[in-house]
């Protein structure tokens, strides 16, 4: 090999020889490339997850308030007290409602973006959908608090067009109502929908964009009127996108602890419970157990989605 390279090129330096070494041994190169990300995924990412799981198996001594480092399921039993069940139910129902509303708003928007826009106007739509993501999350949540407040622009608008009574009627609804939108579940839900909507629009739009025009033409050609084509061809092919979007909106809502704290009735959600338990209460095991809940819920959610064939067209 030396003889060959001698008359073809100047003698290789250290880097050159290293490069040749790697070129001849692709497995070594693969190993070198994979070690950093695998370390990250294996040690830092999964490791901390397992540490969390381990924490949840310990429990707090009721008298001393100290963590007892003995594995057991006492802490999980605590999750099933009525107050904690309430927190979990509240969060899961909110996540489901937010996901449904996001889907209902995002689908027509994504459909229009995918099928009816020109390249230029599509770019404008993309920017419009993603622009909120460029500004600070907290600022946006506080803005909604102001918008939804009793003295806010929504109340003002309803009164302006003479629909103040309608708003009052909505706020008098049991459970979801409240003194004003900013301190009701409705307000929390509106804010969640606003914050997570881009995460639903983008995957649904991508899925719809991947449906070739010829599919729609073929369906029409075989006798389907537009409604049937939508139901039989477009919708089934968009479902994976909707599923992907719903994973975002559902899991993000399950884990969020800022929005329900700032906008809403201040009744706790899972995220808030975790935040308080690990902070002021110092109950790390219960906080860890609460953290496991969204994971289990997501696991169940994905299983159901798969059962219904949401990922068949992937």
């Amino acid at each position: 090999m030396a003889a060959v390279s001698a008359d073809a090129a100047p003698a290789p330096g250290v880097l050159g020889r290293f490069s040749t070494f790697l070129y001849l041994r692709p497995r070594v190169m693969l190993l070198l490339l994979l070690v950093p990300p695998l370390l990250w995924l294996g040690v830092i990412y999964l490791g901390s997850l397992f540490a969390l799981l381990a924490q949840s198996l310990f429990h707090i001594d009721d008298f001393s308030g100290l963590v007892v480092y003995e594995p057991g399921l006492q802490t999980y039993a605590e999750l099933f007290t009525p107050a904690n069940i309430d927190i979990i139910t509240r969060t899961v129902v909110m996540a489901a409602v937010v996901t449904l509303i996001c889907g209902a708003i995002a689908f027509p928007l994504a459909y229009y973006m995918a099928r009816y826009t020109s390249t230029h106007s599509k770019a404008i739509f993309y920017i419009a959908v993603m622009m909120p993501l460029w500004s600070n999350y907290l600022v946006r949540v506080y803005s909604w608090k102001l918008i939804l407040a009793k003295e806010g622009v929504i109340t003002w608008l309803f009164n302006l067009v003479g629909l103040g009574g309608v708003l009052d009627w909505i706020l008098e609804l049991p459970v979801i109502g409240g003194p004003s939108l900013s301190v009701s579940y409705i307000g929390t839900c509106i804010t969640f929908v606003y914050i997570w909507l881009p995460y639903m629009v983008l995957p649904v739009e991508a899925a719809l964009e991947r449906v070739p025009r010829s599919f729609i033409e073929a369906s029409a050609d075989l006798g389907a009127h537009p409604g049937e084509t939508f139901r039989r061809v477009i919708l089934p092919l968009a479902i994976p996108g909707v599923a992907a979007g719903s994973i975002f909106t559902f899991s993000l809502t399950l884990g969020d602890y800022i929005i329900p704290q700032l906008v809403g009735s201040s009744r706790p959600f899972i995220g808030m419970a975790v935040y308080q338990l690990q902070g002021t209460a110092g109950n790390i095991p219960l906080a860890a157990a609460f953290t496991i809940v969204p994971m289990v819920v997501m696991g169940i959610y994905l299983t159901i989605a798969k059962r219904f064939g949401a990922f068949d067209a992937l």
């Binding site: 073929a218 050609d221 389907a224 009127h225």
Partner: protein, 348 residues
């Protein structure tokens, strides 16, 4: 005699922006025939097909199917069926469901649907594959599924948009034979779009040669090949062998361009005798391409122009010591094999 024609296009025009993709074309297709729209890409052949299918609205003109004007009918009510270039098989359905789609839309009971889908799959030699997904099939198999799906509604016209374009050469040739057989079997009108002149010649009853949104010639394959109406047709279908006015005058005595098919020309030694009903031209062999079954010579003519000669290798070519590059030769062909092109006279 209007009713003899299954599909009639009258002054059909379609513009995209300022440019006319299809510019005032008219032609008729007899019932049960295999008609091909042939032309280079962007010549308007696919646009024409899509107007027939109902995916584009013509700007002007009429589409008459079985005596009825169908311009305003939406695609799903035209009774035509299309085989798409990308096959457009629905990935979320099995092959059987894809084929039965048209029946499902027409609310045919499930058992009958399955039976007829299986029948169609048998016809395209895919029996037993109904349970697979399109993604599990090869390109050729998908093509057959698309064909079966289009035929299941028993359309009166089948529209095929370059259906063999994505297949390799061997498969393409095999599918040409099968398509023609299926067309004979089902007996419906096929309208076939292709840019491949070989496909057009081998399968069609009639060929419409398109160029720049207009039709250059409509005729049978033999007619298109033997008697090209225009210089474009002569060049696009088969090997181009066109002599311009000056070069033609040196041979025929008339300053009108003509075309001659390369296999009609016989190459002989210089100075050989020429029959009374023949024309001849002297030249020098410019290049020799050995193609196995034949050899292709390019001959530069002494009095201007050049001609391609394709010679079947009945003997081993090495036996002919004089057919080498740079050697002088005489080209001879029958007078009635030339096709005059242009406005002066003789154009068809």
């Amino acid at each position: 005699m209007r009713n003899d024609f299954h599909l009639e296009l009258r002054h059909l025009t379609k513009k995209f922006g300022e440019t006319a993709a299809v510019d005032d074309i008219s032609f008729d297709i007899p019932r049960g025939s295999f008609a091909t729209l042939l032309g280079p890409s962007g010549c308007g052949k696919t646009t024409t097909l899509r107007m027939i299918a109902g995916f584009y609205d013509p700007d002007k003109g009429d589409i008459i199917l079985g005596g009825r004007r169908i311009n305003e009918l939406p695609a799903h009510r035209r009774g035509t069926a299309m085989v798409f270039q990308d096959y457009a098989l629905f990935p979320h359905m099995t092959v059987g469901e894809n084929v039965a789609y048209g029946l499902m839309i027409r609310k045919v009971p499930k058992a009958e649907r399955a039976a007829r889908a299986n029948e169609m799959l048998d016809m395209v030699a895919l029996g037993g594959l109904g349970g697979r997904r399109p993604s599990q099939l090869s390109g050729g198999q998908r093509q057959r599924v698309a064909l079966a799906r289009a035929l299941i509604n028993q359309p009166s016209v089948l529209l095929l948009d370059e259906p063999l374009g994505a297949l390799d050469l061997k498969l393409r040739e095999q599918m040409q034979v099968e398509l023609k057989a299926i067309q004979r079997q089902v007996g419906i009108t096929f309208i076939y779009v292709t840019h491949d002149q070989g496909e057009a010649l081998s399968m069609s009853d009639r060929i419409a040669v398109f160029n720049k949104g207009r039709i250059e010639q409509i005729a049978s394959p033999t007619e298109v090949y033997e008697h090209p109406a225009t210089a474009f047709v002569a060049g696009f279908v088969g090997v181009s062998n066109l002599l311009d006015g000056a070069a033609a005058a040196a041979i025929t005595g008339i300053a009108q361009p003509f075309s001659i098919r390369p296999e009609k020309i016989v190459m002989v030694q210089p100075g050989s005798g020429v029959g009374a009903d023949c024309l001849a031209a002297d030249g020098t062999i410019d290049s020799v391409l050995y193609l196995g079954s034949s050899t292709r010579y390019n001959v530069a003519l002494a009095k201007g122009g050049d001609l391609t000669v394709i010679d079947q290798n009945r003997e081993s070519p090495a036996a002919d010591g004089w057919r080498h590059q740079g050697n002088p030769v005489r080209l001879v062909w029958q007078r009635d094999h030339i096709q005059h092109i242009g406005s002066a006279a003789g154009g068809r």
